[in-house]
Symmetry: none
Amino acid sequence: MAQRGRKKGSDGEASRALLLRIAADEFAEHGYHETKISTIVRKANVTQPTFYLYFKSKEAIFGELEDLFRARPASLTVGSLINEELDGFTLPRRIEEGLTEVLQFFKDHRSLARIGFCLSPAAAEVKMQMAERIEAQLREKGAADYFHSNVDAGIVANGLVGMIERLATTKLWTGEKTAHELANDIVTILLYGLRRKTSVQ
Amino acid sequence: MAQRGRKKGSDGEASRALLLRIAADEFAEHGYHETKISTIVRKANVTQPTFYLYFKSKEAIFGELEDLFRARPASLTVGSLINEELDGFTLPRRIEEGLTEVLQFFKDHRSLARIGFCLSPAAAEVKMQMAERIEAQLREKGAADYFHSNVDAGIVANGLVGMIERLATTKLWTGEKTAHELANDIVTILLYGLRRKTSVQ
Amino acid sequence: MAQRGRKKGSDGEASRALLLRIAADEFAEHGYHETKISTIVRKANVTQPTFYLYFKSKEAIFGELEDLFRARPASLTVGSLINEELDGFTLPRRIEEGLTEVLQFFKDHRSLARIGFCLSPAAAEVKMQMAERIEAQLREKGAADYFHSNVDAGIVANGLVGMIERLATTKLWTGEKTAHELANDIVTILLYGLRRKTSVQ
Amino acid sequence: MAQRGRKKGSDGEASRALLLRIAADEFAEHGYHETKISTIVRKANVTQPTFYLYFKSKEAIFGELEDLFRARPASLTVGSLINEELDGFTLPRRIEEGLTEVLQFFKDHRSLARIGFCLSPAAAEVKMQMAERIEAQLREKGAADYFHSNVDAGIVANGLVGMIERLATTKLWTGEKTAHELANDIVTILLYGLRRKTSVQ
DNA sequence: TATGAATGAGGCTTCATTCAT
DNA sequence: GATGAATGAAGCCTCATTCAT
């Protein structure tokens, strides 16, 4: 960052950050194995040894990107309803807000999100934790008042996680929908279902 | 074809099938790049040239597995509602049946499904087509009578595809749920939502 | 040859001969290394083990073809002038006759000739021997009366061999010239040269 | 470029040139298929990946050698008689000069010449073009004054090409003759023939 | 901080060739 | 005489990674 009189106007931190950014894009677009260190350094206009000056290995830089994803604000754990009194009006809003935040983060950090949420072997763990937190909240004392009990919360939670991944891929990252729109749609579907209210049941 | 008591290793069709099965499992578990031909043939108790007796290349066997997945009965296209009079009672059943079939196929052909639906580069296309078909059916004349119109059918369709992938991974392939249970849960969630009917809206 | 009641109407000798003929063509057209046993047997409609029933190895069948070439009638050694009284009239005729025979053999056994005279590692030896015999005849007692002595016989002999190879390739095997025409042209050039007689020298 | 006393193995251009030179010799001596990359790199005292640092593939380095051969000075096209007034004295000299140049180049770049003129699949084309150029010159206006017309120029041209190849192989590259001597002999033979002038015709 | 040059390790693939029937 | 099935041996190539400057 500081411009401490280096030649070429770029210092180590800059190179490092550049490599990291390019690596993120490459990994996100081509996956781990199809991404070559040689490609990353070429796009960053540095040489291969320079890469190893900043990162111990290919695995290391990938791991660092995973960490960057996981280090997102904790608030992003969908719907932190815990310890609050929620009624039928605010509950949906709260869930939607949480979802919006997550999706907005995905949109703002597309490559990071693809790596940490879709590509990484650790993504399974990440999604599992997300699902677990959601599930816990669906089971929260009080939530039972507003939700059916005839569907397994684990199914709902994982279903939601699956929807997030798929809709991020097909609607958010394509620019077809904003984070807010998507969150709104998801909440509407999940809370009220597709069935017309007027239909017999 | 006839299995006339041949000695070990003298039935080519069997070797081929064995290789294909092992390859499916390896690809499904480790992905394309981490799967080594050397591992496949070792597990099949043959040598590497034998592999090339039956498959042109690593890519070729992977492609064949993709094809095997794509060649699943066309009936498996979720919910073929087309050309039928559907009322509020039968519609959900029909959707559930279609879903059950798909999920049962996924369960019966786990490795194939993981390859064709999750790992393959062509999986994106496969899922897109599935989503498109679902979307088309949601828009069918008549369907509108039973469904809300305040949610984008494209969102629902892709959300469903995402749910299928995630729930297959976490609930079906782990043995936690049967195809039928899962289909039932998904339909319930999507049609009726989580909200208690008695709550105010 | 004899049709001794074999099934499929082909006996061993027939298979062997067929393989040999196909191998000759393949080697001639594609060279030793680019010719695959698998191709030969496929074209002969037999399996690989059958090949090894008749030939010890790829080298062996190639060697056999070399031998077939080398076993051509000894008379084909260009211009056997030896032990004859030759005058200025008959000498050119004799040379031409010898050349014609060689070229006719080349034309009749194109693949064999390409193998034994052009492709084989032993072709060097074959051409050397041909050149040596020619050279010896140019030096024969008596020949000196008709030939210049200001050109090395070794040069002439090897030059002739080179001409034969090149002209067989470009004029004989393309069908542009007959063996006779070619032999005539070669003799004319070598004996009388290109220079017009009327020119000053 | 500057050879600033670098330590062993630290000059890429040198490594490349070394590999190229060794490869030329290996190809020239053993042919394409019998030449192994492993041999080339062993002789160059580098490892196999180093080879691929400088050449894309085995085919590529071979092609580069072919190109080096083809890139010889254009003056080397035998006998550029075009656009000059040639009489009976100078014509033979000119032809001889051209031939000498070609043969000298062959002698100075033996491996390259063997590759580009004898071994390469493209050698056929190379020789054809050389023959065509020679043929064209034999047909040049004016040339007819000095040459017989009773022999096909195409035969002469290809015969000459064949002589060049064979004599380079047996007399030039063995050190038995110099380029100049050979050129002189060839011209003498072709222009004046072997027949004594004093003989009857 | 940066690099030109080099390499260890390991994968994919292709042959000619043989075994057991 | 013939074959379906299998293999030993070996080559080409690519990659992440490091050495020496």
